[in-house]
Amino acid sequence: MSDTIVVLPDQATARIPKMNFLSKEKGLLSWLLTGDHKRIAILYLISISFFFFIGGSLAGLIRLELLTPQSDLMATDTYNKVFSMHGIIMVFFFLVPSVPATIGNFLMPMMVGAKDLALPKINLLSWYLYMAAGILAIYTMISGGVDTGWTFTTPLSTHYVNTHVITTGLAVFIAGFSSIFTGLNFIVTIHKMRCPGMTWFRLPLFVWSNYAASILMVLGTPVLAIALVLIVLERTVGIGVFDPTKGGDPLLFQHLFWFYSHPAVYIMILPGMGVISEVVSTFSRKRVFGYTAVAFSSVAIAVFGFFVWAHHMFIMGISNYAALVFSLLTMLVAVPSAIKIFNWAFTLYKGSITFETPMLYAFGFMGLFTIGGMTGVFLGSTGTDIHLTETYFIVAHFHFVMVGGMLMAFLSGLHFWWPKMTGRMYPEKISQLAAVVTFIGFNLTFFPQFILGTLGMPRRYASYPPEFQILNVFSTAGATVLGVGYLLPVLYLTWSLKYGAIAGNNPWQATGLEWQVQSPPLTENFPEIPIMDHEAYDYEWLERQNVSEVASVG
């Protein structure tokens, strides 16, 4: 048994195919006015990486400030702005579009056997809206930013701060429409453009996950939009909707805000889970265990995700009865996620496992997401939530699922499909090192925060009691390691564009329609629309293909 499944073409004679989506047209305008989903995906990849590093730098500033118990690096008002902008940029400009807009945009049409998404112009519009929103957010940040937290909680954001709430709200509003259009495009494509033979249950699970996330994007994001509109109206005109002196209820904002923002976390994680399904299957050489269960649990997460939002509001003044119902529903929504973890574990069981970089990140995901998810159960239970909410326990919880989970899944997918997108392999050894460094750095950064939370350190505070310092120092040290772990891929992935090994069509010997075409793909993906005649993750079918193929060129 070899320790790698990678099969590359003979490097002496292999070349990047002359005709591909990158070489088809040249020039800046051919990129800025493209309808090609693959080019739009690359545009998104560059943009979200840029925003990730801005958000990451803000995180670095947070951790620097928290090295010492006093608020000595920056004024507390500035600290409030730093963590607010960190949250806004990371959530709206990195996590929400990360997998769908980059990997999803690039691969989903190929996975269903289509030549493009259903609405290519809307796809391009989606990117432009994202960029407009992003530029507005950066401008706002430079002009002073907001200090309300990414949650814009009322009445602080409407009546008590003098910062750029309106422009930031507008930026998020625009970014929301970017997200809506991506989701809308995906849903139409999956329903209407599957190739002949591609039934729902032959779709890769990555498609199912993106489908579920897209439903959330389309149905949830508009409620965030109206919540932001109301904040703007409250701040400008003074309508009184969230103003107790005029009879309004500040909690109404939270209902509207979290009605989106809870499904938003599933928008963020579901595509990542889709990546993990693909990666775990490929690197165990086994079909995903319980395909139907995983497919339905993706949709179940989406549906149930709409019923639990008030668990973010347990201490805010909702009625006890509402808290009870939402708590119960929160317990239920954990079940489909757990089903997926179990199914991945059973996929690994008796599989031929190899440890290439995507698989390392996938292992990291499975462990860290499980921990993050389980701590979510502590928070979903109202009794424990009273003590843990608004402490560092929450911060640790969501960073475990979002960074330990989602970001690792994004990196896993990026590495997995990098050969397909660029035609080149990334350097394996350094990337495995980066994955391990990331894992170590992550745990060092965020595990102490669980302890800090249970000990009582509040979140969003620039200063804290001195007895918490040692754990904060560990956390900051971990953040430094984590930073290195995230910087390395930027360097070696860029390097690989020129010097990486030629990958060929299917370096991972994976199933899936995207691996049966050249790398990088043609602009139209397929010369002719394929006919799907086998089940998903059919490794026996792949075996039969390879047996009958002719290996030499010319």
């Binding site: 329903h191 209407k192 599957r194 002949p196 033979g197 039934t199 439903i215 149905l219 409620v223 109404l252 209902h255 009605f259 709409f306 019923f307 008030a310 909702i318 009625s319 006890n320 009865y321 509402a322 119902v325 005649d533």
Partner: protein, 108 residues
């Protein structure tokens, strides 16, 4: 088992052209219902006033959706989509109102 999506027969429904007679009937119903709801608002029915008003509005909505928007003649997918939208709307309104209305129930 191959399952070719979009069988040719399904496209026939694209060409199901709803006749102007039906449109005329519907618009007359809608105008009558409008008059009805205005009249009903002048009648004291206690707690039933809003119920009647919303019921009439819902009926008008169904007429517009089914006939003007052709949903009666559309695919199951379209009907499911409309249903999903209404369902999510009801979840937003219903569960939020559930919080507000149970606040007055006090502590356990």
């Amino acid at each position: 088992m191959t399952d070719l999506h979009d069988k040719p027969e399904q496209h026939e429904r694209e060409h199901h052209i709803v006749s102007p007679k039906i449109y005329l009937t519907i618009v007359c119903c809608l105008l009558v219902l409008t008059a009805t709801t205005v009249a009903a608002s002048y009648v004291e029915m206690g707690v039933f006033n809003p119920i009647v008003a919303l019921a009439i509005a819902a009926l008008k909505m169904m007429l517009v959706v089914l006939f003007f928007m052709h949903v009666k003649y559309s695919t199951k997918l379209t009907k499911l989509t409309v249903g999903a939208g209404l369902f999510t709307f009801l979840v937003l309104v219903g569960m939020t109102l559930a919080d507000y209305m149970t606040r007055a129930w006090g502590r356990w």
